[in-house]
């Protein structure tokens, strides 16, 4: 297990301090850590466990239960493509295949340039504008393969 860098450790402690007084705040703390560090480093688990006075296994169990939390570094952006029924009815499978081919990665993988991590998601509440995807916090609707190429060009210009 890689030790936490000093800055990471400080961030984790700061987030813990901000939430500690709130009952049942473990998910909030994990959200905070992932938002700040991009993932939840294995070495953060014992720190969180100790500060909250719960077992490491409990913290680890929570991190692994939820699809959103990840234990490994990811790309600078996360692309979540909806795989659920409404998006399927409008071509999500073809869109997904296109995106995988364009980025050269499968789900849960990161592009070699470190720009994008690709994840599946099950409904984004955009089911009247399917197929949908979420880039970080930017929601996109009616994403045809052609539209995806336009979006990708925009994103590559921006970063």
């Amino acid at each position: 297990m890689q030790a936490l860098a000093q800055a990471q450790r400080e961030a984790v402690l700061r987030i813990l301090e901000a939430h500690r007084a709130r009952p049942g705040a473990l998910l909030e703390i994990l959200h905070g850590v992932q938002a700040e560090l991009g993932f939840i480093p294995a070495a953060a688990v014992p720190v969180i466990a100790q500060e909250l006075n719960i077992s490491r296994a409990e913290v680890h169990g929570v991190v692994t239960f939820y699809h959103y939390f990840r234990s490994h570094p990811a790309g600078r952006h996360t692309l979540r493509i909806c795989q659920a029924e409404a998006c399927q009815s409008m071509g999500a499978a073809a869109l997904t295949a296109h995106v995988k081919q364009r980025l050269g990665v499968d789900f849960h993988e990161t592009t070699p340039d470190g720009r994008f991590t690709l994840e599946p998601v099950y409904c984004l509440g955009n089911c009247a504008c399917s197929p949908a995807l979420l880039k970080d916090e930017e929601l996109c609707g009616r994403v045809t393969p052609e539209r995806f190429d336009e979006l990708l060009a925009e994103w590559q210009r921006d970063s």
Binding site: P23, G24, A25, L26, L27, E28, L30, H31, E58, G61, V62, F65, Y66, H67, Y68, F69, R80, A84, E85, A86, C87, Q88, S89, M90, V121, Y122, C123, L124, G125, N126, C127, A128, C129, S130, A132, L134, E137, L139, C140, G141, R142
Partner: protein, 518 residues
């Protein structure tokens, strides 16, 4: 605001943003500056006519005139046409309130969504907001609970349990602390009513939860929001801060001396956390494993205390009931399904969006009169009602009415009111496989029939799709479904058989005769 300031509405609703509403708002602001026209841009919710989004509205003496769908490129032309005064333009839709999709609706819960500035308390109050809370403060706790019972309101999250009875149970408990937990996990594909309401009129949810808190004696509320909804998260945070500021939340609600505190908590991408006991585990900061019942959450819920768990739409229906009376609400609907239901038309549908009507409309009216048929223009072959655990319904049954009992009568369920439409290119064996796969991905792991059965289900469906030993595998599939139905603790494992067996029953040709796949 000077007389020459034009008021323009551009939605902040996530779906509208997903189609470019942000760049439209920016283009309008920039173009107005260049032309030295003074505008006030209000970021409203969506009216729920998504094929017309981004839908821009301007305030004119003749009402709110709409234009849509607008792209940033259209904006200079719109100004040339004097759209800010309601001028004629190819994208003009006239007075939006007169649009047939809206005019024929019965919007009680969605009355203000798309109309007001969602995070402005003064706008909310100017449009009738907080009248329910005002009334509730003048009533006894038992009277408020009775009003909710008399309204006939049943939970809109899926199980359709009478809300008043649940509240009465919590009211009757003697406990040091009680809670109101709003289920905003909205995980069903084809549903977005909770999201639209939280983005378009979040104060109505805040008011509903406050009334619930006063009614049952709970001083703390939590909204459990799925993390896939970042826009709703922002709107809720802003609305809650505004409500605290205006003293509609906190230690002295509306000067009554009574307390109600409220905060939003984020989920982390687990469908099962929409199940109420799993949600409570998650709110406590744990793995979202389903609890064995009894005890009911109303008796031992969050942190072991009596807890009202209700869906967003259930809680948002309460202010109207308390403001206008139980009878007013009850007068809508049919049989044991009282009031209105926000139905969501999704997937392969031409006019996708939100239709709030009294119970009793037929599927046909929804799909064709409102929905305009499929988006692709091909025949509609199947719909799935009620999310990923809901049954598939073939076109031959589209005459059935939308009502809890009527749908149950054909082996289907209404759930949270989402309808996902598929045209005749759909492969129903693949949809059945997906139902099993989804269950395998999302199972909390507590019961074997769900955890293992769904994985076996995917394998069996793979063989059926490949045309291998079809009849034997179909038999296996039916046995698996029976085991899951009987041996699961919660609806995820227990209801996954609905989409699978309904697909097989109504579309068996997609399961048999798969030789073409070789």
């Amino acid at each position: 605001m000077s007389a020459l300031t034009y008021e323009i509405y551009v939605p902040r609703d996530a779906s509208a943003l997903s189609l470019g509403a942000e760049s439209v708002a920016r283009a309008i602001a920039a173009e107005a500056r260049t032309r030295q026209i003074e505008v006030r841009i209000v970021r409203n919710g969506s009216r729920g006519l998504f094929w017309l989004e981004p839908l821009v509205e301007v305030v004119t003496p003749a009402g709110r005139v709409a234009y849509g769908p607008v792209t940033a490129r259209d904006v200079p032309g719109l100004f040339d046409a004097g759209f800010h005064k309601g001028g004629a333009h190819p994208l003009a839709l006239g007075n939006i309130a007169e649009h047939p999709y809206l005019k024929t609706q019965q919007r009680l819960t969605f009355e203000r969504v798309g109309v007001i500035d969602p995070v402005s308390v003064s706008d909310y109050v100017a449009h009738g907001g907080y009248q329910g809370l005002r009334n509730a403060l003048a009533m006894s706790q038992a009277e408020v609970v009775q009003a909710v019972t008399d309204s006939g309101l049943r939970g809109r999250g899926g199980a359709a349990f009478p809300t008043g009875i649940k509240w009465k149970t919590v009211l009757d408990q003697n406990a040091p602390q009680k809670y109101i937990a709003c289920n905003a996990d909205e995980g069903d594909s084809g549903t977005f009513a909770d999201r639209m309401l939280m983005e378009g009129d979040p104060l109505m949810l805040v008011e509903g939860m406050t009334i619930a808190g006063l009614a049952v004696g709970a001083t703390q509320g939590y909204i459990y929001l799925r993390c896939e909804y970042p826009h709703a998260y922002r709107a809720l945070k802003e609305a809650i801060a505004a409500a605290y500021q205006a003293r509609y939340l906190g230690a002295d609600v509306m000067g009554s001396g009574r307390r109600f505190d409220l905060e939003v908590r984020l989920g982390a991408g687990a469908y099962v956390c929409g199940e109420e006991t799993s949600m409570l585990e998650s709110l406590e900061g744990k793995r979202g494993e389903v609890r064995v019942r009894p005890p009911l959450p109303a008796i031992k819920g969050l942190f072991g205390q009596p807890t009202v768990v209700n869906n967003v739409i259930t809680l948002a229906s309460v202010p109207v009931i308390v403001a206008k009376g139980a009878q007013h609400y009850r007068d809508f609907g049919m049989g044991k399904s009282r009031g209105t239901l926000p139905i969501q038309l999704a997937g392969n549908i031409k006019h996708g969006g939100l239709v709030e009507r009294a119970f009793g409309l037929t599927l046909k009216e929804l799909l064709y009169d409102y929905g305009g048929g499929s988006a692709t223009g091909r025949p509609i072959r199947a719909i799935q009602v009620g999310g990923p655990l809901g049954a598939y319904i073939p076109a031959s049954q589209f005459d059935v009415q939308v009502d809890y009992e009527a749908l149950a009568g054909i082996g289907a369920l209404l759930g949270h009111g989402g309808i996902v439409v598929f045209d005749d290119t759909v492969d129903m064996a693949r949809m059945a496989r997906y139902a099993m796969e989804f269950c395998a991905i999302e199972s909390c792991g507590k019961c074997t029939p769900c955890r293992i059965g769904s994985t076996r289900g995917v394998e069996v469906m793979d063989r059926i799709i490949q045309g291998i030993d079809t009849e034997r595998n179909l038999k296996l599939l039916e046995d698996l479904c029976e085991t899951m139905l009987q041996g699961s603790l919660c609806g995820l494992g227990g209801m996954t058989p609905y989409p699978v067996t309904s697909a097989l029953k109504h579309f068996s040709e997609d399961f048999r005769a798969r030789a073409r796949d070789h």
